[in-house]
């Protein structure tokens, strides 16, 4: 059986594959966002002055990094509804389950990245903020956060690419993301090469787009007077960089 370019092209441009890719992107972006916010909270708790809080946060990171992501996903989808009856209702969709599992998993990794990002901000920055009379929440928002973000962009980009591929695990709970729709189509026509190739192209395209976005974000965080063209940047980056 030859590689049928017609089949490859039809799959690649099919609405089924596009919908699968959209679900993959949506799931990855949502889990990365939630995981980052949760990770920030965990990272801050790890710096708490209360030992039990610190230990709790460390245990959280330990747990979610130690257990395989696939097991976490299966746990959320199969075991949680057994323990919490209300999760058996139809509103608890595969998407929600995958989002929950991947967010929790991601937050443990983001907590570590953010913790090292926070530690990289020079102590003198906080002293300078204090002597100007800024409150501690202002120091965090105006001074620590933007400097921390600059440091964590590259490792977070890595995390996001990993997460994008981890979404394919959700095929085991029959979420119709990119790999699921590929497998389902293969099960119908057995055109492995053509369909896997189409899925590959989609993953490559998605990752490439995000790599370009990351490069732009990094450029924005160069803090150089030649890179001050704010107009091309996403709003969230502008806000994070000090709201100018």
């Amino acid at each position: 059986m030859q590689f049928d370019r017609q089949i490859f092209w039809e799959a690649l441009t099919s609405s089924t594959f596009a919908a699968g890719a959209a679900l993959t992107i949506g799931l990855a972006v949502a889990a990365q966002a939630a995981g980052s916010i949760l990770g920030l909270v965990v990272a801050l708790l790890r710096g708490s002055s209360l030992p039990p809080v610190r230990w709790g946060a460390a245990a959280y990171v330990w747990l979610f990094r130690a257990v395989p992501t696939l097991l976490q996903l299966l746990f959320v989808w199969n075991a949680l509804p057994q323990l919490i009856p209300s999760l058996r209702d139809p509103w608890f969709t595969p998407f929600l389950a995958a989002f929950l599992a991947l967010s929790l998993n991601e937050s443990a990794y983001m907590a570590e990245i953010i913790r090292s990002g926070l530690a990289s901000v020079d102590r003198g920055q906080m002293l300078a903020g204090k002597t100007l009379g800024l409150r501690s929440d202002q120091i965090f928002r105006l001074i620590t956060l933007p400097q921390m973000i600059r440091v964590i962009i590259p490792p977070t980009g890595n995390e996001f690419i990993t997460l994008l591929k981890l979404t394919s695990l959700a095929s085991v709970i029959s979420l119709r993301e990119l790999l699921t729709v590929t497998s389902q189509t293969v099960a119908v026509n057995f055109r492995f090469a053509e369909l896997y190739a189409a899925a590959t192209v989609w993953y490559l395209a998605i990752v490439s787009v995000f790599m370009v976005l990351q490069a732009q974000l990094e450029k924005r965080y160069q803090w150089s007077s030649r890179e001050r063209d704010v107009r091309t940047m996403p709003v969230f980056a502008r806000v994070a960089a000090g709201n100018r």
């Binding site: 002597t131 100007l132 009379g133 800024l134 105006l142 600059r150």
Partner: protein, 253 residues
């Protein structure tokens, strides 16, 4: 108005780091518009004293009175950190390593105090900041980021950033000791100008020219105590304390 009412008066301040007693009852007063220069060997507690005066660290006992108001941050009892935050901007500190915010331009560094602490609107803050940058002769560098400036320029931005809060007292901790020798002058010039304009200043520095030209008194610290205080000519010509004499010889001041 009586000239003897001090702008800032610290009395009998003590401070420990763990079991190390760093300040052993330090008293220091500076009158409105006066400049005092603090000298002393490494480890004598000069930086610690400034950080305590700047309300960046709690003290264990003693008092700090700013313009008639007790503002000390006491390790136990007394004012908590939160309630003294508003006083910090009146006692602004300039650091040895500048500590400019690297993600903000020179202009934004200077604007941060007026906008976020004094609550001035952005346009007005911008005009104010531009005027201050011009005053430290950096009007043409407003859009530059800190890493694009020389050390001397960064320190002058830091001075403008502190001035933007309209502090009652400015505290300088070795402001020129991280600078290449040829850049020291431009920073000292700005500080001398501030002194002439009537700013109340406490300056830890071993810059002789500044001490001679601008200081009303030189204060000698040793092992957590102030052991001598005198006007510059007497301090350098005829110090009373043996330790001061030895220090001046060793430091070749």
């Amino acid at each position: 108005m009586s000239g003897s009412q001090p702008m800032i008066a610290a009395s009998e301040i003590t401070k420990h780091y763990g079991r190390l007693e760093v300040l052993k009852g330090v008293s220091l007063g500076v009158e409105r518009g006066q400049v005092k220069v603090v000298v002393g060997p490494s480890g004598s507690g000069k930086s610690t004293l400034l950080r305590c005066l700047a309300l960046l660290e709690p003290i264990e006992s003693g008092s700090i009175v700013l313009d008639g108001e007790d503002v000390a941050w006491q390790a136990r009892g007394g004012r908590g950190e939160r309630s003294l935050v508003p006083f910090r901007s009146q006692l602004c500190m300039v650091f040895q390593h500048f500590n400019l915010f690297p993600h903000l331009t020179a202009l934004e560094n200077v604007m941060i105090g007026p906008v976020h602490v004094r609550g001035v609107d952005r346009k007005e803050a911008r005009d104010e900041a531009m005027a201050l940058l011009a005053r430290v002769r950096l009007g043409d560098k407003a859009e530059r980021y800190p890493h694009e400036l020389s050390g001397g320029q960064q320190q002058r931005v830091a001075i403008a950033r502190a001035l933007a809060l309209r502090p009652k007292v400015m505290l300088f901790d070795e402001p020129t000791s991280a600078l290449d020798p040829e850049l020291v002058r431009e920073v000292i010039d700005v500080m001398e100008e501030l002194a002439r304009d009537g700013m109340t200043m406490i300056v830890v520095s071993h810059e002789m020219r500044f001490a001679h030209e601008a200081a009303d008194a030189i204060v000698m610290m040793d092992e957590g105590r102030i052991i001598e205080e005198a006007p510059p000519d007497r301090f350098f010509r005829d110090p009373t304390h043996e330790r001061t004499r030895r220090f001046l010889q060793l430091a070749e001041l």
